[in-house]
């Protein structure tokens, strides 16, 4: 990454995060929404053993639902007053835009997931020991990087499309299915749900890392063409 790309990425990321801090979409809409999803699952399943067993999957499912809102929001900011067009006209390096937007999305997702895991510990009474915590943190970092890259990529793809509110989930859900599966398995191992050991979670984390690397690289190479007219 050259100086120009790094400067643009920092500017785009800090701009996106500042806008989110001011608009409070994450705190006032996404966090309550995902919190409600967790509570609804708790009421629906209403069984501590089942809840502890499926806690990992519920956290990642709530994350995916919230991802759609966050991705739509991050690109709505760019398209509302034609800023994405202006960035293109200004000849701003698209790789810098991609990295910057992915970083901002990553930070927002990390905040969201932290709250969801706290909610899982409180509501579903799951336990995590020292080695499980290391696995959990690594899993969260790799899965979130993958979600941020793929979310930015597909957000850019659908940014100018008609019906993007419904198009985005339709396109994004099948692509992020591997993240949901791998992150859930790794989280279950971190929570030692259903007799799983922590060691069994690491191969899933490796798949998450590969997923993040593939979509990170794919995004860098293709984002320019995606946002072109």
């Amino acid at each position: 990454m050259n100086m120009s790309t790094s400067r643009i990425a920092r500017a785009v990321a800090s701009k996106d995060l500042r806008i989110e801090l001011r608009s409070r979409v994450v705190t006032n809409q996404v966090l309550p929404f995902s919190g409600l999803v967790m509570i609804m699952f708790a009421f629906a399943l209403d069984n501590d053993d089942v809840l502890q067993r499926v806690a990992g999957g519920l956290v990642w499912l709530a994350t995916l639902f919230s991802l759609f809102i966050l991705v739509q929001r991050t690109f709505a900011v760019e398209t509302y007053d034609g800023a994405l067009d202006s960035l293109r006209v200004a000849g701003v390096n698209p790789q810098g835009i991609f990295i910057g937007k992915a970083i901002a999305l990553f930070v927002q997702l990390i905040v969201l997931e932290s709250m969801l895991f706290i909610a899982a510990i409180v509501l579903y009474r799951v336990n995590v020991n020292g080695s499980g915590l290391v696995l959990l943190v690594t899993c969260v970092l790799c899965a979130t990087a993958g979600l941020a890259f793929v979310g930015t990529l597909y957000g850019g793809l659908t940014a100018g499309a008609r019906g993007r509110e419904t198009l985005l989930p339709l396109l994004l859900l099948p692509v992020v299915a591997p993240v949901l599966i791998c992150a859930t398995r790794a989280t279950e191992s971190a929570f030692r749900s259903g007799g799983l050991t922590v060691g069994e979670g690491w191969p899933w984390v490796a798949v998450l890392a590969v997923f993040a690397a593939v979509f990170g690289l794919g995004g860098l190479l293709s984002f320019s063409s995606l946002i072109e007219e």
Partner: protein, 216 residues
């Protein structure tokens, strides 16, 4: 193409949604000119501006802007061109100062250039700290032009710059355009406000059905 030609289109054709929005445009704009593009809705004014900015592909003919052949490379010209369309390209949640600062950072402009751009647009301390979402249409336009200035664009492409502005706002836009031309920029303005824009322009070009009908 002459040394001072900024835009040189010969029989340029551009297609938008399967329709030839530019159907063989021949047009030449020299350095420091202020050119008014006029014509009815759908004549191809906005498409011509977008083609000059390298946003629309020219599929046939010759299209040179600032020495770049747009039929070969549409991207290199962009950093030297500023397009202000119907939208302002601003972020409503940020203040004017933050918007100008963002644009100056992404294009690599210095702090001095950023301050100078805001001074030229008469954006003082109090106004600079206001969020764009709270501004009037004229103030938003001034902020967008400050972002254009900070980009050091050599060719300004303005699409209906007076739209939605009151008399004071329109006067301000005219003053800014004249200042930009005086400082070396070339300006192409598409407008329905013929009388006002003609006072500003050094030349008027009429577009009809994607072709230049008249140039005077």
């Amino acid at each position: 193409m002459g040394n001072d030609s900024v835009i040189n289109f010969v029989d340029a054709v551009a297609v938008y949604n399967g329709y030839p929005a530019l159907a063989g445009v021949t047009l030449r704009v020299e350095r420091n000119e202020i050119v008014l593009l006029q014509g009815p809705n759908g004549a191809g004014k906005s498409t011509l501006l977008r083609a000059c900015a390298g946003l629309m592909p020219v599929i046939r003919g010759t299209a040179n802007v600032l020495g770049y052949d747009l039929t070969v490379d549409r991207e290199s010209v962009r950093e030297r061109v500023g397009l202000l369309g119907h939208q302002n390209g601003l972020f409503g949640e940020l203040t004017i100062a933050e918007n100008v600062s963002f644009w100056s950072t992404v294009v690599g402009a210095s702090t001095e250039e950023r301050i100078s751009a805001m001074e030229r647009m008469a954006i003082d301390g109090k106004l600079a700290g206001r969020r764009v979402s709270e501004l009037s249409a004229g103030q938003k336009r001034r902020c967008a032009l400050a972002c254009l200035v900070v980009r050091r664009a050599e060719l300004w492409l303005l699409d209906e710059p007076h739209a939605g502005l009151d008399a004071k706002g329109r006067d301000e836009i005219d003053r800014i355009v004249k200042e930009a031309a005086a400082s070396g920029a070339t300006i192409v303005v598409a407008s329905h406000e013929i009388e006002r824009a003609q006072q500003l322009a050094t030349r008027t070009i009429s577009l009809v059905a994607g072709q230049v009908r008249d140039s005077q």
